[in-house]
């Protein structure tokens, strides 16, 4: 098991390195960047001379890369070209917001999908089951930004139960979290349902019933545990996709998280910010990958033993 962890971590680090180079070069290779920034009306801080110096554009690219990475790893990724604010400060505050949103969405996803999926499988072909499947289809078909519009229209404009945008009060997190989680809920519903259905057909369920265990315990402890590998495998993929969606959802609701900052930075050609954020998010994706792989190993003891031997 330990060897597996080490191998995977190394692999992740390599991926990260490759990604950082790709992002860096991607951003730098942009044509006419300085001129764009200069003509950006929001830029109040720099003039052409110290801009060039600031960006170190006169040095060869690999040197620029190393310099940048050096700054980054020592905790100082520089300042925004547009506002002059240090990026670290933006990172920490925005990071907090994104974390809150992601957590809320994840919680919502599993709190909804697991019980509903389980019950749908348990009461197969019942009204509940069919309702759940319809929900799943809807969740997958509606693009999340469209869902956002609909929800805003319904809850914020018509019913006035929830605020349209903003981030001060606790209610403001509800709509963004729902939009973010919608597709994840839909897909998880289907996976949970089909995985549980498969498990319910297995022999050990009958043995458990023969032991006289209560239904609830059989379902929620035994069946769910055995049905979890596909769900955990999915979690890895879902988290990554979720990360991508935060970019859109945060922008819609003006939720001041990392995604919102990144999109704005790109639109304003604010390179240091864009670069750092992109790198950070990429790191997050790779880490999620790693965690999901490890989680999958843990859930199935048989695989765990094999991985130990490997």
């Amino acid at each position: 098991m330990a060897r597996f962890i080490v191998r995977r971590t190394l692999y992740a680090l390599v991926l990260l390195f490759i990604a950082s180079v790709a992002i860096f070069y991607g951003m730098r290779v942009a044509p006419g960047d300085v001129a764009d920034v200069m003509s950006n009306p929001l830029n109040s801080v720099y003039s052409a001379q110290n801009l060039r110096q600031k960006l170190g554009l006169d040095k060869p690219l690999p040197v620029q890369y190393v310099t940048y990475m050096g700054h980054l790893l020592s905790g100082n990724p520089g300042s925004s070209l547009v506002t002059g604010k240090p990026i670290m400060a933006t990172l920490t505050s925005a990071g907090g917001y994104t974390l809150k949103l992601a957590l809320a969405a994840t919680l919502l996803t599993y709190a909804t999908a697991i019980p509903l999926g389980l019950l749908a499988a348990w009461k197969r072909n019942s009204v509940l089951d069919q309702g759940v499947m319809v929900l799943a289809v809807l969740g997958m078909g509606l693009p999340n930004f469209f869902l956002a519009i609909l929800l805003i229209q319904l809850f914020a404009v018509k019913l006035r139960w929830l605020p349209i945008a903003g981030y001060e009060t606790p209610q403001t997190i509800i709509l963004p979290a729902v939009c973010l989680a919608a597709e994840a809920i839909a897909i998880n519903l289907r996976v949970v349902r089909s995985s549980v259905l498969e498990e319910l057909n297995r022999d050990y369920v009958r043995t458990l019933e023969a032991k006289g265990l209560p239904e609830g315990r059989i379902l929620w402890l035994h069946v769910l545990r055995n049905a979890s590998p596909p769900i955990i495998a999915l979690a890895g993929v879902m988290l990554r996709t979720l990360l991508g969606y935060t970019l859109i959802v945060e922008t819609i609701f003006r939720w001041p998280g990392l995604g919102y900052q990144l999109v704005n930075a790109v639109l304003q050609r604010d390179y240091p910010v864009a670069q750092t954020l992109a790198l950070l998010l990429t790191l997050a994706v790779i880490v999620f990958n790693l965690l999901a792989d490890l989680g999958q190993q843990w859930a199935d003891p048989r695989v765990r033993h094999q991985a130990g031997a490997a």
């Binding site: 991926l15 490759i18 990604a19 992002i23 991607g26 951003m27 290779v29 942009a30 289809v137 997958m140 078909g141 509606l142 693009p143 999340n144 930004f145 469209f146 519009i149 609909l150 805003i152 229209q153 404009v157 897909i187 289907r190 996976v191 089909s194 596909p230 999915l234 890895g236 993929v237 990554r240 996709t241 979720l242 990360l243 991508g244 969606y245 970019l247 859109i248 922008t251 819609i252 990144l262 999109v263 790109v266 639109l267 050609r269 390179y271 864009a274 670069q275 992109a278 998010l281 990429t282 994706v285 990958n289």
Partner: protein, 309 residues
């Protein structure tokens, strides 16, 4: 015993494919399994309708004299709801006819979907087949690349791309292609790996048929079904991605209409005329649902093993 059989098969190998790649069936015969599966049929019909609409859209986008249909502004009839004053789907905030804009937008969406899927499919299948067939270091290299790219959030990549290039349809298409190819490659590779072990491949190899020929003439035709299934899913994914990117301003720039961008601008008028935002949204949803259903149906026909959920 097995060798005996292989040799018997192998004699004709050079002259016709080992597996019956179906030729010479009428269109009706080919569509028969599609007809039998109602789900696929429904999805196919809806998708086909949208393809037609997209075709029209593409025409009016390309032909200069027709562009006015979605460009004409009329300040007097802004924000009318559907079925008013000769505009079936109403008008937007600049008085442009919604119906034509939807048609044009659909054209853009499906155009993106088509280009991206063709690109990703070609690259993905090629790389996947090579990786699966060659094995060894080549396989590990390509697989590593696939792993890195596969689950990557498209939006993130697209945003990064737009950071490098100008916002616009080209950037969007490039970005989505960069991520999507890996999905194809993964599945193709898995299939090739399993097909590689089959007897007819051994026979072909024993005859000295070069590897590329084996891959091209024997392995690829067996993957047509799977590819179709994936293609329909990926076009749907692309449509959503393109719309999402357009929504936050990183996609096709005005005056080129994009369904996502329409939703975004319509958002400001939700109080007054919600239709301006809702109609493009419903359009996207229908396109996606149609394609997903088609994909589900095709999968049930061709390869139930693809059923992940």
């Amino acid at each position: 015993m097995m060798a005996q059989e292989s040799v018997g098969l192998a004699v004709d190998e050079e002259f016709q494919p080992a597996l019956p790649v179906r030729r010479g069936r009428t269109l009706g015969e080919r569509l028969a399994p599609l007809r039998a599966n109602k789900l696929a049929l429904l999805g196919g019909v809806v998708s086909f309708l949208f393809v037609v609409v997209a075709g029209v859209g593409f025409v009016i986008l390309a032909v200069p004299s027709l562009q006015h249909l979605y460009l004409d502004q009329n300040v007097e009839v802004t924000l009318t709801p559907p079925f008013h004053g000769g505009h079936i789907l109403g008008t937007d905030n600049l008085g442009r006819d919604m119906a034509w804009r939807i048609v044009a937008g659909t054209g853009i969406s499906l155009f993106a979907g088509l280009v991206v899927t063709t690109l990703s499919m070609t690259v993905g299948m090629a790389l996947g087949a090579v990786a699966g067939y060659a094995g060894g270091v080549t396989d590990r290299l390509i697989s590593g690349l696939i792993d890195l790219t596969w689950g990557f959030p498209v939006i993130l990549v697209a945003v990064i791309f737009v950071g490098a290039l100008q916002p616009g349809l080209t950037a969007v298409i490039a970005a989505i292609s960069v991520v999507n190819w890996a999905g194809f490659a993964r599945i193709v590779r898995a299939q090739v790996v399993s097909l590689k072990e089959r007897a007819f491949v051994e026979a072909a190899r024993a005859l000295g048929i070069p590897a590329w020929k084996i891959v091209l003439r024997h392995l690829i035709p067996n993957m047509v079904g799977t590819s179709l299934v994936m293609a329909s899913y990926y076009v749907a994914v692309t449509v959503i991605a393109e719309a999402g990117l357009a929504f936050i301003g990183l996609g096709a720039q005005p005056p080129t209409p994009s369904l996502g961008q329409m939703i975004s601008s319509g958002r400001n008028y939700l109080y007054i005329d919600p239709w301006v935002a809702i109609i493009p949204g419903i359009t996207i949803a229908l396109i996606v649902l149609g394609l997903n259903t088609l994909g589900d149906g095709l999968r049930d026909i061709f390869d139930p093993h693809l059923r992940q959920w």
